[in-house]
């Protein structure tokens, strides 16, 4: 059994974010990064499968040198091997570009199961997991709250709107994108961190994965146009008084504006 866990390194949830000069991303200098919280639940799920039986857990992440810290953390928590996809050519990829890179890694690794978070804390697109599954040609489920081995695959409980759950059966190989909170994520132990020093971490480029010229800004169908802080609106008025007074005044204002 081989499990591939896709990790994204994102700015720390409490980091103070400033927009960069181009206005299309944030300034990354001097801020702390962490593993995308949704992905930590995916990693924990993989490690639990490993703890319960025999499985090799391979973690993969795309990004610059800082990403190795996320991978080392995952190795410290118990993953067996790491793949760092590092290539400036991948910069500016849209979600499809990222899905292509991850699918190419998955093709090389042929895992029985791919686990990842259902979205990232920074991009919030929720697009990569289904795209990756499509590119791999495997069944997938998103927003998974519980995955239990069932026959030759997994029975997944998906969270739907309004608290409803949907049950889907996936045959292996498959991809499961987990919702946050489905387990209690462990900490890396000092022993694990020391052992991680000896665990292999491979570095791969777009070329190594046969994706040269396919991914990156050039191949992106979606590009970030602009990032900006919400503009503070003007003209808001707070109406104070008893309920009756407030209602009378509010109705008066609406009539004044000719909306009623």
């Amino acid at each position: 059994m081989k499990i591939l866990v896709c990790l994204k390194q994102v700015p720390h949830q409490d980091a103070r974010l400033d927009i960069d000069g181009a206005g299309t991303w944030i300034k990354e200098d001097g801020i702390k990064f962490e593993i995308n919280s949704y992905d930590t639940f995916a990693l924990e799920e993989a490690l639990r499968i490993k703890d319960a039986g025999e499985a090799e857990v391979v973690v993969v992440s795309i990004g610059p040198d800082r990403v190795t810290q996320a991978l080392r953390t995952a190795l410290g928590m118990g993953a067996d091997r790491a793949i760092h996809v590092k290539d400036a050519e991948i910069d500016g990829s849209d979600t499809l570009g990222i899905a292509k890179v991850l699918a190419a890694v998955a093709k090389e690794e042929s895992p029985d199961l791919v686990l990842m978070g259902l979205m990232s804390d920074d991009g919030n697109a929720s697009a990569v997991p289904p795209m990756m599954a499509e590119l791999m040609g495997v069944p997938s489920a998103t927003a998974v709250m519980k995955a239990t081995p069932e026959g030759d695959g997994y029975r997944c409980e998906r969270e739907l709107e309004g608290g409803a759950l949907e049950v889907v059966d996936l045959a292996k190989p498959c991809l499961i994108a987990v919702q946050s909170g489905l387990n209690q994520v462990r900490y890396a132990s000092l022993k694990g961190i020391m052992a991680a020093k000896k665990k292999p971490m491979d570095t791969k480029s777009a070329g190594d994965l046969g994706l040269s010229g396919v991914v990156g800004a050039a191949g992106a169908k979606a590009q970030i146009e602009k990032i900006y802080a919400p503009v503070r609106g003007e003209g808001a008025e707070i109406i104070e008084g008893s309920t009756d007074e407030v209602v009378t005044q509010l109705v008066g204002k609406i009539k004044e504006l000719g909306l009623l």
């Binding site: 409490d14 900490y187 000092l190 961190i193 991680a196 020093k197």
Partner: protein
């Protein structure tokens, strides 16, 4: 988010695993320890024992020891762990210091193979808690004057005496007790429940309320020769343990200082005084600049000390300088932080005063500030001061 101080870019000098260890413990303290410490300190003055399995799982007990279930971290990595624990509370770091440096270390250094096998893995796993009995009611700094006696009886020993100010005394499954014998000072391992041995807690502490402090009573405690640490001979035994623990303190108190500094910087930015933020006042900035500088100097001292320890070049007088200086500046940082917080600094919604009163104990234990002054004085002059 607590980020600590790194003005001199010391992170660039750290190995990946040292940063990872520090950040992991930092997260753990934020998520698991900070939410519970206030209640333990406020209500009954107890250690959050429910966190012990988690601390053990992280591998924080005896983290710089090798083998027997220990992590085998570098001494700088170990120091950073102590720093992060004391960022939470000096009581938390004390718990780990006593377990690792004062109990696991002497068993590791002076114990028989059987003793190591029996105690170390269980202590690393947090299943067995240890305490260290050296200080007595009448003998603190002058520990060699101890009255606790061990007398040979047949193949074994009989111990009598009292030990006081013993961290984790009543929690301990095994106590390392130092006693006078005809051959000099020797160390003994006393398991909980041994007849004639009793631990009672010291109540009414203003300081280290998140830690248990006890008195140990030994009345005709019969031990076998297997309970004695075979390689510990003379005061060198307990003193070498103290060097280990003092090393951890030199790092730990930087954490307490950074906790206070972090809190007061944020507070002073937001607190409006006479039309502007407290942080915009010259007197405030002078105080913050001093704190920032002293924390940075303490970090440089600890870092170099750690690397020397890794290289086997550490002398105990160097540890004395670092313990003395770093505790002193941490206490200053805590006091000035408390001052800047104004009346808010009096209540336990803010950390400064908790750290401040804790650090009064840290200044006294493991060699008082004045004793370390005299150790340095003797090192400089080659004369023992009278």
């Amino acid at each position: 988010m607590f980020e600590g101080v790194d003005f001199m870019l010391l992170d660039e000098e750290l190995a990946d695993e040292e940063i990872l260890a520090r950040d992991t413990v930092r997260n753990w303290v934020t998520q698991e320890f900070m939410p519970v410490i206030q209640e333990h300190v406020r209500k009954d003055g107890s250690f959050p024992m429910e966190l012990v399995p988690g601390i053990a799982e992280l591998g924080l007990f005896g983290a710089n020891l090798h083998g027997y279930g220990c992590a085998g971290m570098s001494n700088v990595g170990y120091g950073l762990v102590m720093q992060e624990l004391e960022r939470g509370d000096s009581g938390l770091r004390s718990f780990a210091s006593v377990q690792g440096s004062l109990c696991m270390y002497p068993i590791h250094a002076f114990g028989s193979e059987a003793q190591k096998e029996k105690y170390l893995p269980a202590m690393a796993a947090g299943e067995s808690i240890g305490c260290f009995g050296l200080t007595e009611p009448d003998f603190g700094s002058f520990a060699q004057g101890m009255r606790t006696k061990a007398v040979r009886k047949g193949d074994g020993w009989i111990l009598n005496g009292t030990k006081r100010w013993i961290t984790n005394g009543s929690l301990a499954h095994v106590s390392i007790v130092w006693a006078q014998t005809e051959e000099g000072v020797r160390g003994f391992l006393i398991d909980r429940g041994t007849p004639g041995f009793e631990a009672r807690d010291i109540k009414g502490k203003f300081s280290l309320r998140g830690s248990v402090t006890s008195e140990l009573f030994l009345q005709d405690v019969e031990l076998s020769e297997e309970n004695r640490l075979p390689e510990a001979k003379g005061m060198k035994g307990p003193l070498s343990c103290l060097t280990q623990a003092r090393y951890g303190i030199a790092w730990g108190v930087i954490g307490a200082a950074m906790a206070c500094f972090d809190e007061v910087v944020e507070y002073s930015r937001e607190r409006i005084v006479q039309g502007g933020p407290l942080a915009s006042k010259q007197l405030t900035q002078a105080k913050l600049a001093d704190m920032f500088t002293e924390i940075t100097k303490a970090q440089l001292l600890a870092h170099r000390l750690g690397r020397l320890k890794d290289e086997g070049k550490l002398h105990h007088t160097m540890v004395s300088m670092a313990k003395r200086n770093n505790v002193d500046i941490a206490l200053q940082v805590a006091r000035v932080s408390r001052d800047l917080l104004g009346a808010n600094g009096i209540v336990d919604d803010y950390q400064a005063m908790r750290h401040m009163v804790n650090l009064e104990t840290v200044r006294t234990y493991e060699g008082t500030h004045d004793i370390h002054t005299l150790i340095l004085g003797e090192h400089i002059t080659k004369m023992r001061a009278l």
